[in-house]
């Protein structure tokens, strides 16, 4: 999504009613984040909307992007948020061999999620298709990617073929660089 540097066309303030909706949506999507939502996104704070090309909206607080969203799809967290609250997002882990491809912006293929170094949630914690997940890496402390599951984690285990997770935001991509500048 952000392979190229993000060129934003200015930011606008979000109406408080819309902001409430966004907040609620985030809470629904990431129930684990709810206890800390006040720290991530204070009720009184003024969110900014930054419009990026291809119908991508970035939600920023104090010039730092916290969440982003494509059109009306699921809201996704910026990696910095994931780094700060790693337990609040559903996580899968990839093996070491996949890291360099992820940092290059590749889609995440199933074998990288099923090999010995990788971790998927157990069967009872099956994540359905379309879930927004943070991707951890073998031997690393911090997540390196945020993506959307293309198939449920159970399917990944059984099929073990093809595109498992869509790469939406990874370390060092346009969105990441936009903030660190």
């Amino acid at each position: 999504m952000f392979k190229k540097p993000v060129s934003s066309s200015g930011k606008t303030k979000i109406k408080s009613s819309v902001q409430r909706n966004i907040r609620q949506k985030i809470c629904e999507q990431f129930p684990l984040l709810e206890p800390v939502i006040e720290d991530v996104l204070p009720k009184k704070a003024q969110l900014d909307l930054i419009k990026a090309p291809e119908k991508i909206s970035l939600y920023a607080l104090d010039n730092q992007v916290l969440f982003f969203q494509h059109h009306n799809d699921a809201i996704m967290p910026h990696l910095r948020v994931v780094h700060k609250y790693p337990e609040c997002f559903p996580t899968v882990q990839v093996d070491r061999g996949a890291i360099r491809f992820i940092l290059g912006g590749a889609q995440l293929m199933c074998p990288g999620l099923t090999s010995p170094g990788a971790k998927l949630p157990p069967s009872e914690g099956n994540l359905p298709e379309g879930t927004v997940v943070a991707i951890n890496a073998e031997g690393k402390e911090h997540a390196c990617m945020v993506g959307v599951l293309k198939m449920s984690t159970e399917d990944i285990k059984t099929l073990n073929k093809g595109n498992g997770v869509e790469n939406c935001h990874y370390l060092g991509d346009g969105l990441w660089k936009m903030d660190s500048e």
Binding site: K84, R96, E141, G172
Partner: protein
């Protein structure tokens, strides 16, 4: 940013967070000052050498943790030897490319020139056109705004006939701009050229 926080604090925070499970305390994360990634991912970037040096200088304890010989031994994890070798090779190639790129850029910087052109508008009125600043990693829009503020005049980014961008400052300011470029942006005298274009352009857009 978080990068300023101590490495020791980050490590402790990580442990606490792992222990409590659903902790509500935000983790402190150190980010590399060179490539902006968390230091543990520096090894995948193209500027590993610089990143390592930066980490050693700014967060010695973290550097110790990530780059000690023991850590390097564990690095391979569950990767097969073959895959590991391939990855190493690719990485080396990437790094070499990056180095070359940086060299090229430095050379380009040395040879490129900023042009300050004085263009006649009407009989006694001039605009000053500055072009070529992109080679020095400056952004037209912001620099234009700065000029406007500094000289209290109209200053905008326009497209030249060739399709490249340039800054048009209203008024005859070429000497002042030369000074400003040298002082504020630290550009060498040799890289700036002042030109005068006195003849009137036909048609006049």
């Amino acid at each position: 940013m978080e990068a300023e926080s101590s490495a020791a604090g980050a490590a402790a925070g990580a442990q606490a967070a792992a222990g409590e499970g659903g902790s509500t305390v935000p983790k402190d994360v150190v980010y590399c000052g060179v490539c902006s990634l968390p230091p543990e991912y520096c090894e995948f970037g193209a500027t590993v050498k610089k990143c390592t040096d930066w980490l050693a200088a700014n967060h010695p304890s973290l550097h110790q943790k990530l780059y000690s010989s023991e850590a390097l031994e564990n690095k391979m994890g569950t990767m097969t030897l073959e895959a590991h070798q391939k990855a190493e090779k690719d990485l080396a190639k990437k790094q070499q490319k990056e180095e070359l790129r940086q060299e090229r850029e430095a050379a380009k910087k040395k040879s490129s020139v900023i042009t300050i052109k004085r263009v006649e508008r009407t009989k006694r009125k001039y605009v000053t056109v500055v072009s070529g600043i992109e080679a020095f990693e400056l952004v037209y829009k912001t620099v234009a705004k700065d000029f406007g503020k500094k000289f209290a005049c109209g200053s905008s980014v326009t497209k030249s006939a060739a399709g490249t961008e340039e800054i048009t400052v209203q008024g005859d300011l070429s000497d002042e701009i030369l000074e400003e470029l040298m002082e504020k942006y630290g550009i060498d005298d040799d890289n700036i050229r002042q030109v005068e274009e006195s003849k009137k352009k036909g048609g006049g857009g």
